[in-house]
Point group: C4
Chain length 271, copies 4
């Protein structure tokens, strides 16, 4: 293992740590730089802004990119386990945050890829110690994970439905009314079943409209299913979070605010 | 403290109070004047009505404004704690209800701001003693407040999704198909994910339509999450409301299946 | 009281009763006549059908109308309490079912009012003894009725939101972009908040689109509230329907399939 | 009963069985052939693909069809109870999977019917032993089945609503604004109530827009009803699934808070 200089240790505390004042300041500055660079990408894509402030945006873009490059180099230099950082999630994101601007020198139009920098914002949860929010997020993800089998089954059913409906509508309405191919008809069926309804393709024959009505009412009704699945799952989680069991009588479903067992009256130790 | 005249006391009972007959009558008249003035703002904005009845509307507008001005002056004059009324919520709203018409003399087109008067209607809940409705409203707000962390996390996830999808669609479809900038593509992604689907911008390439389909199905599925959150919260509130209270220690929030008080351990009589 | 002839009694059993064979047959014939007459109204309104089969439809329309008129006369003649029948719900509906055709002789275009005949179909529930369905319907209505205060509060909040958003959008976008008046802007806000999204009016300025995005996400989020309200109410009903209480130990929340009390073990009498 | 050759028995294990290696291989190959043939139907319908690769697609189509025909013949030959297979669900689907291509020789344009082959994919659940998914699917179907009465009642109410609203809108807006007939107006009402909102037909009069707003808010509110029904049903299922069984009488469906078996009264040991 190579010798670590005191500078490396000091920079490590600033760049990776969040417990020193300098470390906190660095994190907040980083946060604003990321937000600024994301805003740059959005503005760059607006034609009027590009025409009028293109030069300034380009300068700001390169400034941010060079800052990110320096930051990446420092992070690699000061990290104790370089391989783990470079190949880890945050290491790759930090690298990808700097690359697109360099890439745009050779392949024009790839600048929009810089939006990938927004992923760096997930650091903000760690930086600002938003533990309440991370816990809630993990609860929601857990509810989705626990419902994954049902959601997959439901998605397959939806895909089957739109395939069948799309094919039938292709036969009923035909290319003359905008249903130019089965894939496009399936796209229309998805637009309809999910109640989005762009109106770029719409049935014009009486039978097609009757069939479309059936799809709409179906879509309106089956939206109840994913909602029911997730509701039931969140409600179940809620219940489980609030339940202890009594060590004296073994009663379950004891609310977590109880101090005595509601079934046998024995005192409960604070958990 | 200045001397209060008997007229001040009598007007106070009428203007602020709701227990005398004159006070009730004043409140009801005020209610109708507010509704009338809101209707005036709506009608004023309709071109045909403005052309034909513009003079009448203007007269009515000024009548209402002068009435509101007099009312405001009286309220200031008769209130016992002027500072508190003038700087309080209702004082500011009462002032703002009269201002826009005067302002429109100097800055044309600001008349529409008079719609702010509608806020005065919240007084109606107090006037009509709609306690059932205020209680239900506070329950709903409580359910939303209790779910605030989850709703914020969910909103951030949605914002992240539409940013990513919007950027990708900008790259896929490009300005030629209406996706003229990343912010506009994000707007499109929101229109699609929330299943609104105006159709003012719609994907035209096969790959863009496939991606749009993915967003739609996602939007159709994740609407389950806020619904699940709020459902679970309301159901939890419901359960907690159906509780008994302990006759020994007075504890509330005792689940109705308990045989012993979960707070003090005293046996509960069957209700 | 006038003397009732045997014919009156016999016709009464057929027309009002459902226990004789002739009565059942009459009800089924009536059911089909009503469905046919509703179909006539729908077909009549289709231009191509009207042009080609107008004469036949007119003949059928008059046949049905005369049958309904005779039926109404018979019902009045044979009913024991004429005043109650004529002024009651079914009496009025029976009268209104026949009137529009006669009215169309004097006022053209009122024929479409005949669709009111469809209300007569509610008789079908009584005729076919669909008790399971009527019970479920009354459960659903009960859930809605129990949630009425919350639904009214929610509707007021939605109306307030669309009024505010509509007015702001009128100021932001203006008549040039289709937001020609405040009422029309409120209409647009409703179309957007409810995620219908016709696209007949759509914001075109950047700020208008940002504001519209806010409305969409809000509409997408607050749809959770009515759903949560009704879900919680139906779940509460479900629970209450399945619960007895133990006569020995007074335990509540005893599932209705239990034969012994789950709390004290005492046998439960069959309810 | 006819004599079965050893070849028949060996082929039966491969074609119908899933326990031998050859049987598994056959099933996986079949799975991919079905997916390929479905993709062929989709591609065939895209005009550009048809023009450029039409000959190849036709060849592939016939190859798949002949493979399916041979497979069907083999299945008939080797099955122990031919009548049951041929007239059963899978037998009919296997036959229908091969027919459309032959039919397209006589009736052009019927090729798209081949999409029916996708139904064969339901075999995949059996083949891949996706028991978790089949169980979840049956749970969801059970929840829908248990809610069928309510869903039918709800659907009838929705149909009644759109018929009434459609007729009124036909009278209010008239053919000049796109509401050319009552059936078409009902189609519009469905598009609006389900919040799809194509925008191909949209109200233009002030009164029509007010009425449309009412339908939208109604549609936005009553979507809560199917969701509430299914949520409550899934939650109920969830609760019933988390039960113990009585060690004395073997009764299932014992709620987990019970201390005595609700069926036989025997005390339950703490689990």
């Amino acid at each position: 293992m190579e010798e670590r200089s005191p500078l490396q240790n000091r920079l490590e505390r600033i760049v990776f740590g969040t417990d020193s004042r300098a470390g906190r300041l660095f994190d907040v500055l980083l946060l604003w730089t990321i937000l600024l660079s994301a805003a740059l990408v959005l503005l760059e894509s607006v034609h009027e802004v590009h025409v009028r402030y293109g030069r300034w945006l380009l300068a700001a873009e390169w400034t941010v990119t060079i800052l990110f490059t320096i930051e990446y180099a420092v992070r690699v230099w000061v990290s104790r386990d370089r391989r783990r950082y470079v190949l880890g999630f945050y290491g790759l994101v930090d690298l990808l945050a700097a690359l697109p601007t360099y890439l745009s020198l050779f392949v024009p139009g790839t600048q929009a890829l810089s939006i990938i920098r927004a992923i760096r914002l997930t650091r903000v949860f760690r930086i600002l110690r938003l533990t309440t929010y991370t816990r809630e997020a993990s609860h929601l993800l857990l509810a989705l994970y626990a419902s994954r089998h049902r959601i997959i089954v439901f998605s397959f059913a939806v895909l089957a439905l739109v395939t069948v409906f799309g094919t039938v509508m292709y036969l009923v309405e035909g290319p003359a009314h905008g249903f130019t191919s089965i894939p496009r008809s399936i796209y229309w069926a998805i637009v309809t079943l999910t109640t989005v309804g762009y109106g770029d393709i719409a049935p014009r024959t009486a039978f097609g409209q009757a069939l479309a009505s059936a799809i709409m009412i179906l879509g309106y009704a089956i939206i109840a299913i994913p909602t029911g699945i997730v509701s039931a799952e969140i409600a179940r989680q809620e219940r489980h979070r609030r339940v202890l069991s009594c060590p004296t009588c073994g009663a379950v479903e004891v609310p977590e605010t109880s101090r005595f067992c509601p079934q046998c009256g024995a005192p409960l130790e604070a958990a």
